[in-house]
Structure formats: C-alpha cells, structure tokens
C-alpha cells in the first residue's frame, strides 16, 4: 500500500501522517505541493498544519497548488483521500467536500483529547470501526467550526455522510456536532480531529486513530 502525504509550505503534521501510514504497514510517499505528480500512490492524505500560513483563509491558497489539481482528479475517479484538520479545510476549499470551517465559537485555539462517535463505518477510511463506536483522539485547531447551509446539512444527514460527531460538549460550535464528513461516494473523508496523533498510547491519548489507516489497508489489499 503506497499512501501519499502532501507537504505544503507550512504543513506541520506530515511527519505524523507518514508515521501513521507506517504503523498500518503502508509505505508513506512524500508528495511536494509544487509537483503535479502523485507518484502512483493508492491513496492520499492531506495533513494538518497552516498551509501558506493560513493568513487569507485556512486552505484557500493550498487548493490551488499543482499537486491539488491531481488530487481532485484522482478523487473524482475514486481514489481514497483523507483530509485532517488543515487538510479538511483544504478539501472543503477544493470543493471535494461541502461546507466550510470557521473560527471556533469561543475564539481560542483548542487542544484537547476529544471523544468522537463513529457515525458511518462504510467509508474508505472507517470500516475497521463499529458503527456508534466512541473513540478518543486529539483535537487541535482554531478554525474547526463546521458550517454549511441547511440544505447541505440535510443532504449530509440524509445520505449518512456525517462520519464523526463530537461526543459531549461541542468544542468549537460545529453545526450538528459534526467532526468529520465524506463525499457521496465515501472515498473522500475530512475531519478536524487528528487520528494520526492517536496511534500509540505512548505519544497520544489512545491508539484509537489507527483504525482509519488500517481501514485503508483493508481496502487496498482487498481491491
């Protein structure tokens, strides 16, 4: 399994995403933002960070990077794509996922261990989880409040495209407690919390996040 991990200037969690891929017995392939080349990977992770400083609007510049043109094309053909935190913001800006991420309702950056409920275990990235399983992974973001218009929200709910929901107190004001969503086909998933920081209880709160990378492994190996 070859999994591409994109690095934009300002990407921070690329090393973590690469490590998570290795923990799931995959080969992590670094992808550079300026290259229009996915190097024959089986899947792509757009990791967290502050691409281009996020000074304009999180993810707004990264979506125009040459490598993103390739990611959008591949995603439309069904390649599994995962956007974590800033990666989720980039996928939303690139219109691979609907809605937008705005400033946390309390206006502070929030770093905490967050319980999530798995609402959809049929996407490319979540088959290893039981439906309604609760997992504990870090959340660390200043612009993590998921917003979308009422029609989009209804569509996401109706089509079972809400993949993760926050459990307990809503940490950032996201509508419907949404922590992560997928596209209609289920190959593209974006979430604000960081499963790649929860792959080993030594350095994270749990290893609950590893399931996302193992789900991908199952998919690629069985394909």
């Amino acid at each position: 399994m070859r999994v591409g991990v994109i690095t934009f200037p300002g990407t921070l969690d690329d090393v973590d995403a690469q490590r998570a891929v290795r923990y799931a017995d995959g080969e992590a392939v670094p992808l550079w933002h300026a290259d229009r080349d996915l190097q024959n990977v089986d899947a792509v992770i757009v990791p967290g960070g502050f691409s281009y400083g996020d000074y304009l609007r999180a993810g707004a510049i990264a979506r125009f990077a040459p490598v993103m043109q390739e990611v959008v094309e591949a995603a439309h053909k069904g390649m599994p794509v995962l956007g974590i935190c800033n990666g989720f913001q980039v996928l939303a800006e690139a219109h691979l996922l609907p809605g937008a991420l705005t400033r946390n309702h309390e206006l502070h950056f929030v770093c905490r261990d967050q319980w999530l409920r798995v609402e959809n275990n049929t996407t490319a990235w979540t088959t290893r989880y039981d439906r309604d399983a609760e997992i504990l992974v870090p959340l660390k973001s200043g612009e993590g409040s998921y917003q979308a218009d009422a029609d989009t929200l209804k569509q996401l709910e109706d089509e079972n495209r809400i993949v993760f929901r926050y459990v307990g107190e809503n940490p950032n004001g996201s509508l419907n407690d949404i922590a992560g969503i997928s596209n209609a086909r289920g190959n593209v998933v974006g979430l604000m919390p960081h499963p790649e920081h929860a792959i080993d209880a030594l350095t994270g709160p749990t290893d609950d996040g590893l399931g996302m990378f193992l789900s991908l492994l199952d998919l690629v190996v069985n394909a």
Binding site: P9, G10, L12, F50, D54, H108, C111, R112, H194, L202
Partner: protein, 750 residues
C-alpha cells in the same frame, strides 16, 4: 545625507545623540578612542545596541564568570558547547546531541502582549536552529501580576495567545512551563521562552565566519523598520533635515510564524547538504549583532554590502538596516563553490536569499553602502569587548527584618479539608488548563509527557526510544527571602521534577529576571542567586550550559521578586519507562512519601494565599538528598517499580495528592501522623509522592532503606473510589476538587 567614515573624519566635532541611544559619556569616549575618530551614525547605532545591557551583559558579566569558575572538567565532559554560543549543547548518548536555552522577552510583552510573546518564541527557536539542531519543543515560564487586576486581564490572554499562535503555527509542541501570579509582576510581566532541539553530534554548527573568500548570505524575511528601538532617535535626527514625515513603526517586532517554519525546514536541508560553514540567527540588534559576532568569532575580517540587503521599506538608512529587528532572518557563511546550491535550496522553499558580503583577510568589519564606507571597526570591540561594570552591591537594609518576620504566628485554619479545596483553587496552584489547551502539545508525534506533568518529555529517537525531559522552576518568594538558598531551591525543584518522570538530570540553563542593576540591593540579590545556582550545580555535578539575564524588571522603584528561572534537562534511555503523574495506571497501588517533612512555611503558598504574608526563611535545601532521591526515582523507573510519581512543591502534600488523583481520575485513601497541618501544607524540599504496585512495594522500600532515603507509607490508591479520603479528616469528592482546581482560571479570564 549618509554619514560615511570619510564624513566622520572630516567632521570630528559633530554632535551625536549618543545619550539618547543609551550610551554613557565614558562609553562614547571609548568608542572614539577605539576608532581614533568619532563614529558614523551607523557605527554609533551598532555600538549603542551591542553595548546595551541586553546584548553586552555589562552589569552581569563579572558575576556570570562564577559559573565557569565552578564548573569542573568532569561536569564539562558531556558539554559540546557552552556559555557564549547561541545555546548550550549536551551529548545525550547514542550519537545524539541536545541543545536547549531559555530567554526573556519581558518588556516587549508588556507593551504588546501578543507580538511580544510570539516573537519571544520565534527568537529562541532560531537560537536552537543556529546550532544546527532541529527544534523539537518549546516551554514558556510566565509570570503575571495579581490575577484579578485589570492589567493582568489585558496582558495574560494576549501573551498566552501569542505563545500559542506562534508556536502552533510553527509546528512545535509546547510541553510545559509555568504560570505564576504575584503582585510584584504587575506592570512587568515575565515572558521567558525555552526551546529544545536535537541533532546528530557530528552536525553541530557554531557561529564562526572562517575562511577568507567565503560568502555571507542573508536569508529569510526582508528587513524592515519594525523593532528599531533606540535607533529611531538617529532616524529622526537624520530625517528631520529632509522634512521627511516618516511614520514610526512600533518598536516591538511583528512575528510571522509561517516564514519561520519554512526557514527551519530550509535551514535543516542546507545543513543536511553540508552547505553551511557558520551560521547565526538575527535576533536582538539584527544585522549589527549577526555580522559583528560572526566576524568576531571567526579568523578573519568581513566586508558587508549593506545596499544588497532586501528591504521592505523605502529609503532606510544604513543605521536602520543594521539595527532593524525584523524577525525570521538568518545569516550563513558559505564556501563560494556552494553558493549556487545554497540558493537552489532556498528557492525550493521560496526563501529569499542574498549574498551580502564575504569573509576577508585582516581583522576589520567593513560595511559599505553604495560603495561608501559607513562602518569600519574591529568586530571584537563591538561584539565581545563591550564595557564591564562592577556595580555597587549592598544587602538590603530590610532583609533582616524580612527574615525575622516568620510565619510562625500566623493563625492555623480549623478546617483542613476545606483548606485543601481553597488551596487547590488558589490562582498559583489551580489547573493551568485554560492556558495550556491553547497550545498544541501533539505536533510531530514525539510528546510523551506535557503539562500538567512534572516535566515535559520528548522522544528524540523513534527506534531506540531515547528521549529528554525538561522542567523549569523558580519560586520568587523563596528567592526574595534568601536569594542564595532560593536559587538553589529553584535548581533543586527543576532537578527533582526531571527525575520524578524517570529521567537523569544532566544540564542546566537559566533565565535570570531581576530589577534594576543600578540598585545595589538588586545587585546583591543577583550576585547571591548566581552564587547559589552555581554552587548548587557544582554540588549536583551538572553544568550550566547557557542562560540569559534580564534586568530592569521593575515598576517605578519597586523591583520584581528576584526570579532566576532554572531549566534542567534530563535524559531517559527509553521513554516507554517514563513515570506518569497520575495514579491509577496499575491495579493495587500503594502511596509512599519519599523524603522528610518539617514545619516549613516561610514563603509558602499558604502564607501567601491565605494571609498575604511573605517573611521568614525559605525551606532548607539538601542537595545530597536531592541527588539520592533522583537516583532512587531513576532506578524505580528503570526497574519498573514505580507506576506514578509527583513532586511536592508549592502547596505541599495536599496539592500533590489532589493533582495525582485528578490527573489519574481515581480516588485514594490517605493516612497521616503527627501535626496534620504540617503534614499536608508544609513545603519542605526533597520530597516526592510515589505510587508503587503492591507487587513491587517490598522491593522498592527495601531499596530506599538500603540507600538511606527516608520513606513513609501514606495511603493506597482506591480505583473504586471517586474521592480523596484523609483519615480522621473526611473525604473530598473528586468532582468537587476538580471544580475547585479547574474553575479558577476560566472564571478569571473567560
């Protein structure tokens, strides 16, 4: 008109604003003597900023020498670089070297809390990078005035957001630090920033400009008018002539963490490809500092073409370009054959890089601006041979009175259970989660321990699990009562914190925050604290590898509490053996108290919070005992005998119990003998609360007994219970304790 060397020679009697730039008459006279003429504007700017207290250590130098005098060859054996370099470097084994340093950014953070704190983080990170290391983590010891004061509400949220905003965007985990409140910091908060980095031993880089013909390359952000402090005096002098109405920019610099992140990755790639001979970051004093220090430490001279420096403001004078403190810039010395490859790496990262000069034969630093010489100086006189002051020293007249005013007569409380809750909710002991949850502690995946653990711990080698632990500490009240013993106590606590997590302490850094050096009483505090710290390090056998001095921390004539923040670095062979702070990780744990408890309340949190009292003597410190305690804890970690441990510090055993229960989310039953008030709230040093699995209890206490470390069984962990029960007093439900402990800061600052 640009003031050139030629012009200076022709106009020897021209008046210069040296006083406004902070230079004394005799200092100005000395510059003239060195140059055999009056300095140019640009030279005056360089000397004034490099001879400032901040850059030259002119008041502290004579005292800081004591660190070197007390460091033995054995202590030095693991030190790869020490005081005088950008940061100290320590050999931590397996071919790894670790570099760490703490610096102050106090005054800028008071003027502009967000940017002051942000650029404090940025500056220390570049210091670590300049040693050739990858920065791995940051920590921030912070001190504020009264928590409910109006100004604290202005300063604290901004400083916390600045530390977080910069560090989070830079991608460095924040793994610890301190948040302390005391009235003396009102109007002068302390923002100290620590960074730790690691490299392979062979990759160590020092700031030397060696090899005639080598090129000097400035890379990173453009140079602007931000952060020009005293030099604005010169600027206005020059520009009044031409009636230019120039908008002054604030003298606090503005940080751009994104640029710094790119600068880090770019620099590490340059190091990896072997393209750098010497490197220096641009911090305080900007190019003045970088060029004079590089040239001074090298074996030749240097020629700099100032007109080549990429600017972000039009019509900057040579003096302004030299003094600008624009952030996110580095200066490298590169062999001519590598310049092209160097520029290629910078282009990949979209980093602006410009060849601004070269290493020359001889021993002069010559700076030209459009072919006219504006600076021609011996670089050592700028960077290393600044003035040295022997300031008057005098023990404060009221020191005896302060020490005689002991806490012995303070009324003791009736309800000890209630006091446990009151103390847990006091601002200094309350949970700092409101602060630390604004910091990313996970990025890069190496964080093994972070706040509220006793020390932060970072894995540096994923294969072997080798890691380092870091803790910073200082109780300014102890130091006020006795600066010599207080500094030792700060060292002892940081040392103990590191050992409490299972790491072996190996090196020390410091950030010495004091009032005005012109006040003999402050100089006495300073001298005593330096002696205490140096003597303490000698006794513990670990060297001071670097540090920073910040004077003039005072409001009017009132100095802050003397605050020598001490940072201790520890090494752990395998971070999987770390000792966590919270109990309840193993079934069936016994709670043991290591060390001895005496009635010591001078400078205690109880006297401060309940009575507003500061007097008497601080707790006694026994460094031989601290050493033994550390050895026992490290052995306990290595042999898997200890399942949790927590240092006893401010608030005593009561606070340690509250924290270990709340962090572990389990209750405990505690039985104590003797005077319960002393048992619970005394702040005697050299004590740690440990939890050992019942299966290891005998082996562990036998080891303590054999090594003559006093120990006492004080309770058991009760996984079924949701309360902290103190026998003969009653029980405190954990929910209530959590509300008390975690409720204070949100109530103050949300």
């Amino acid at each position: 008109m640009i003031d050139t060397v030629k012009n200076a020679e022709a106009t020897p009697d021209q008046e210069q604003p040296y006083k406004e730039l902070g230079l004394k008459d005799d200092e100005y006279a000395r510059i003239k003597e060195i140059l055999q003429r009056r300095p140019t504007d640009a030279e005056l700017a360089m000397y004034s900023v490099m001879w400032s207290e901040h850059c030259s250590y002119k008041s502290s130098k004579v005292h800081l020498k004591y660190f070197g005098e007390t460091t033995t060859d054995e202590m030095r054996s693991k030190m790869l670089a020490g005081i005088g370099e950008n940061a100290g470097v320590v050999d931590v084994g397996d071919g790894w070297a670790v570099t760490f340093k703490v610096e102050s950014h106090n005054h800028p953070s008071y003027v502009e809390p967000y940017q002051g704190a942000a650029t404090g983080v940025g500056g220390i990170v570049r210091d670590i990078l300049a040693m050739g290391a990858r920065p791995l983590a940051v920590m921030d010891p912070l001190r504020f005035g009264k928590p409910d004061a109006e100004d604290t509400r202005r300063v604290l949220p901004g400083i916390v957001a600045g530390v977080g905003g910069y560090g989070n965007c830079l991608g460095l985990p924040n793994i610890g630090g301190e948040v302390v409140f005391d009235e003396s910091y009102q109007g002068n908060p302390l923002v100290n920033a620590l960074c730790v980095g690691a490299m392979r031993k062979k990759d160590l880089h020092l700031a030397h400009a060696s090899g005639t013909g080598n090129k000097v390359i400035l890379y990173g952000a453009r140079t602007g008018l931000d952060g020009i402090g005293g030099v604005s005096v010169l600027a206005s002098e020059t520009f009044d002539d031409t009636a230019g109405k120039r908008k002054k920019l604030p003298s606090v610099q503005v940080g751009d963490p994104f640029t710094e992140k790119v600068l880090i990755e770019c620099s590490l790639e340059l190091f990896e490809q072997g393209l750098v001979v010497g490197i220096q970051d641009l911090g305080g004093a900007g190019l003045s500092c970088a060029t004079s220090e590089l040239a001074s430490a090298g074996d030749g001279g240097m020629h700099v073409y100032l007109d080549r420096v990429p600017l972000r403001a039009a019509n900057m004078t040579p003096a302004e370009i030299l003094s600008s403190e624009s952030q996110e810039r580095m200066c490298a010395v590169v062999e001519p054959g590598n310049v092209e490859a160097f520029l290629r790496v910078c282009a990949k990262w979209d980093v602006i890089a410009t060849e601004i000069g070269e290493v020359t034969e001889g021993d002069r630093l010559v700076i030209t601006y459009h072919d006219e010489v504006v600076v021609d100086v011996p670089p050592r006189t700028v960077a290393h041979e600044g003035p040295v002051y022997h300031r008057p020293i005098e023990r404060p007249a009221d020191q005896d009175e302060l020490q005689a005013n002991t806490p012995d007569g303070l009324p003791r409380p009736e309800n000890l259970l209630e006091l446990i809750k009151i103390m847990a909710a006091s601002p200094n002991l309350a949970s700092k989660k409101w602060v630390t949850q604004q910091y990313d502690r996970y990025v890069r995946g190496g964080t093994v321990l972070a706040q509220p653990s006793d020390s932060g711990m970072i894995r540096i080698d994923e294969e072997t699990g080798r890691g380092v632990a870091l803790s910073t500490d200082c109780n300014g009240r102890y130091t006020k009562l006795d600066p010599y013993e207080g500094a030792k106590l700060a060292l002892a606590e940081a040392y103990r914190n590191v050992a409490t997590t299972g790491a072996t302490p190996v090196a020390v850094t410091n950030c010495l925050n004091f009032g005005s050096p012109e006040d003999p009483a402050v100089m006495w505090q300073f001298e005593q604290a330096v002696k205490g710290l140096a003597d303490g390090c000698a006794e513990l056998g670990i060297p001071v590898t670097g540090g920073n001095v910040s004077f003039y921390n005072q409001t009017g004539s009132t100095a802050i509490l003397p605050t020598p923040v001490v940072g201790v670095l520890g090494v752990i062979d395998d971070v999987r053996r770390r000792i966590p702070t919270g109990i309840g990780a193993e079934a069936g744990e016994t709670l043991l108290l290591l060390g001895e408890t005496k009635a010591e309340f001078g400078g205690s949190e109880w006297a401060h919070h309940v009575h507003g009292h500061l007097g008497g003597l601080p707790p006694k410190v026994d460094l031989q005992r601290e050493k033994l305690l550390a050895q026992v804890l490290v052995a306990g970690s290595r042999d898997g005998m200890v399942s949790a441990a927590h240092d006893l510090a401010e608030g005593g055993l009561a606070q340690a119990l509250v924290e270990t229960c709340l962090i572990g989310e389990v209750g405990a039953r505690v039985f104590l003998q003797g005077d319960l008030f002393t048992e619970l709230f005394s702040e005697s040093a050299g004590r740690v609360l440990v939890a050992v699995p019942r299966t290891e209890e005998q082996r562990f206490v036998d080891m303590c007994t054999a090594r003559r470390l006093p120990w006492r069984k004080v309770g058991v962990v009760d996984p079924e219970s949701k309360a902290l029960e103190i026998q003969s007093l009653g029980e405190l439900p954990l929910d209530e304790l959590r509300e008390a402990w975690e409720g204070t800061l949100p109530a103050l600052f949300d």
